[in-house]
Amino acid sequence: MAWIIVLGHAFVLFTPYDGIFEDLGNTWVLLFVLWIVLAVSVVRDTPSRDDLAFHRTLPPGAGAAFWRTVRVPLAILAGIGGVLLGYTWWFHFTAASFGRGLALLTLPAVGFLSACGVAASLASDRSVGKVRGWLAVFAPVAVSGLVLWLTMRSLPVTAEKYSPLRLTAVGILAAALCYPLIWWRVAMGKRLLWMVLLASVVGIGLPWLYGNHWPAKVKIPPYLRDRDFKEESILARRPNASGEIPGHLDSDVMEAKELKPGELASFLISANQPFEIEKMIFDSEHLIGVRRAGSTGTTGRFDLLHLQAGRFRDGSTGMGSDAELAAVGGLLPADVDLQNWDPASEHEHVELVPPLEHSQASDGGSLAVRKPWSEIDRQDWFALGSVTTLPEPLIFDLAKGGSAPSGRRGLIRMQALEKEGESFVLKVERFSDEGWSMDGPLDVVEQNSPGSAPYLVIVDEGERKAYLLNGTGEPSYSRVFLGSRQRIRFETGPLAKALPGSQERARRLGRLPGCKLYVFWPHEIRWFRRKMPAPVR
């Protein structure tokens, strides 16, 4: 049983299966069933209150017997800690993440297992009996929880939010501290009645220990949770530009200011809406902003265009793909000629796509109506984004793939280049524990924040050429324990359409297996917000 628990944790943490957390669903309950069985099993071997137990009249006494009882559970917890240590080491997560993970995995187990240990120990006393032993510990929790639930259900404000099985960080900590102590005293036969009373008091109090759900589910990415962005003058209209932002956005109209050399600002342009809308949803149907040409704005994905502005190391500034090329190129070997993989992306046309009129947003309870296009004031427009820098790149052999630590924390892994039909497929993923907090994991939505997408550059060292991969799209997110996994996928297929001649295409594709991949994953410095002149419709 001990091995099952430890290896089960290892399987869940290390399995590459993407949907494991979702598919596990409520099967975590099985883990608690295992803990119950384990508690009964270890107590049965050395029942502290059984008057027929062999160990009761042996010299080592109750203390040694209690140690025999708990050594297997302690070994299990140590095993889980070891698995977690391996996991955080492997993915280059921080010590703080290890600490959070250890608390998340072990504290509930300690509390629950100890409670079961108290119950099993009491049940081993023939004068108490099995039923009374277990009821003495768990009946107060159940009854108290039921009373609380019935009370809270009667209050309209909390009825929707309260669940009878509520775990709070305070409650878990209280259980993890109190029940082991009670178990120890019960096993030692000291002040039995007082310990039973204490267990009842703890049990009654547990459901009432108020706090946030733990682990919490935060559905809103940090950059939207936090509304207090610093208003910065990162972007401005050029002095010689006239009127509002036209249908296309380029460096003739805007310039980057207050950026340090090497900094890159990634942002989107959007319009303010009623706060209720922004709080409730994060769906492009209800956002008004600058989109890529051809976008209808009615899909479920957030497709407001991410724009870039940068200040290069020589002090000059640039917008759009120019800014990206300059930022990336500055970190490549000097004699390498950098260009876009897809030549067509260099002249991307950006235009404003109007949103739906009078659309509504609902979170299942409240309803809010978005401002119609005609009522949006010019003062409602803003640019929202992040300032990043590009670190030194991680370099991989395309043919072999590999993994490497991503800066101070996290891991970047590249799978070996794969051929799918006429196309090659590149897959890069990043594991990061950023964004986690003591409230628990982020329930990361599949949406990217401006500036978080990596830059991938294929470098042909033989020809001294480098190609910035456009069209990788935004990374897809999935949850991993203590962090997130971002995945980038790039197919070389569209190159066939972009390049007029098949010779160049064939040449590039043929040389790919011998090339290297430079991965630049931006390091976020800060978020900013800037009022913008309204675009012309």
């Binding site: 027929l52 062999f54 010299p59 004068s127």
Partner: protein, 304 residues
């Protein structure tokens, strides 16, 4: 060695012990007798701190029973009929397991001697041993360190006569040679009368008597009276010390519980002027116990 005063214990509304006062003197074999359900095992378990007492003072080797620690346990050997042995072990493994716990108290030579005399299978797990063999194994693991106090709770229960005899013989030898303090409980006096120095009889949660065997046997007599005509009980109330009075034809028989040479005979003559003493003989311990057990039953069947 063990002092018990006003011991009380209640189980779910039933008073199992109702103020027991008992002494287990050092260096003697004390037989703790009583019918089933009298409270013998409860008393012993309280003394061994296996169950909590509700009230009373209980000292074992000068220490309160609830504070018995390693030092005391190394000098106490406890064997009980229902005690759960680690049944996945063989006898040698069991000894290997407990031996380190007793340190210098453990006598390897004595262990080997007991092992030889008990003749136990060494490669069979305890779970596969017979009841008698398990008791021997328990006894072996509890005697090899030469405890000063040996507590045996119904050790012969369920054993066949041959095994029982082996046990008793072995125990008798050990108590005579080692001078241990032995506290043995049983509901059958035959098992213990061979080597008991002292007897304590428990009845319905209270101690009816505790006395040295010699003194006990000295005051109990079987009295047979013979009458020329039909025997009849006198109208006056008989002495409370005359137990189990029976009338059968021309004879009256009873057990004198406080016989005194001379004065007792005079008392018989005064109570039964028409009768004459045919026989006054000592009783075995078993006969004394049976007499007392019958008298308890007679008392409990009388209307209040």
């Amino acid at each position: 060695m063990i002092t018990i005063r006003d011991l009380r214990k209640r189980f779910r509304g039933h008073d199992a012990l109702r103020g027991v006062d008992l002494d287990i003197p050092q260096g003697k074999v004390t037989a703790f007798l009583g019918p089933n359900g009298a409270g013998k095992t409860t008393t012993i378990k309280c003394a061994m701190n296996l169950i909590d007492r509700d009230y009373g003072r209980l000292e074992v080797m000068g220490v309160d029973a609830t504070k018995l620690g390693p030092e005391q346990w190394r000098r106490i050997g406890y064997v009980s009929e229902n005690r759960q042995l680690p049944e996945w072990l063989t006898v040698p493994k069991l000894l290997d397991y407990v031996r380190p716990m007793y340190g210098m108290y453990w006598d390897r030579d004595f262990e080997k001697k007991l092992l030889a005399s008990f003749d136990l299978p060494l490669k069979t797990r305890l779970s596969s041993l017979s009841r008698g063999q398990k008791m021997k194994a328990a006894l072996l693991s509890s005697l090899a360190y030469r405890p000063q106090l040996v507590v045996l709770d119904e050790p012969f229960s369920g054993l066949d006569p041959l095994v029982r005899d082996e046990f008793l013989t072995g125990l008798l030898e050990l108590t005579e040679t080692e001078g241990w303090t032995v506290w043995i409980s049983s509901h059958d006096i035959e098992e213990v009368e061979r080597f008991a120095d002292r007897v304590a009889i428990l009845h319905d949660g209270m101690l009816d008597l505790q006395e040295d065997v010699e003194t006990l046997q000295g005051r109990f007599r079987q009295v047979d009276l013979w009458f020329d005509g039909e025997a009849a009980l006198p109208a006056a109330e008989l002495s409370a010390d005359w137990l189990n009075v029976q009338v059968a034809g021309r004879a009256i028989r009873f057990v004198e519980s406080y016989y005194v040479e001379g004065s007792s005979l005079a008392a018989y003559a005064a109570a039964f002027p028409a009768g004459r003493v045919q026989e006054v003989r000592p009783l075995t311990l078993r006969e004394i116990f049976v007499t007392l057990a019958r008298s308890y039953r007679a008392k409990s069947s009388q209307p209040v």
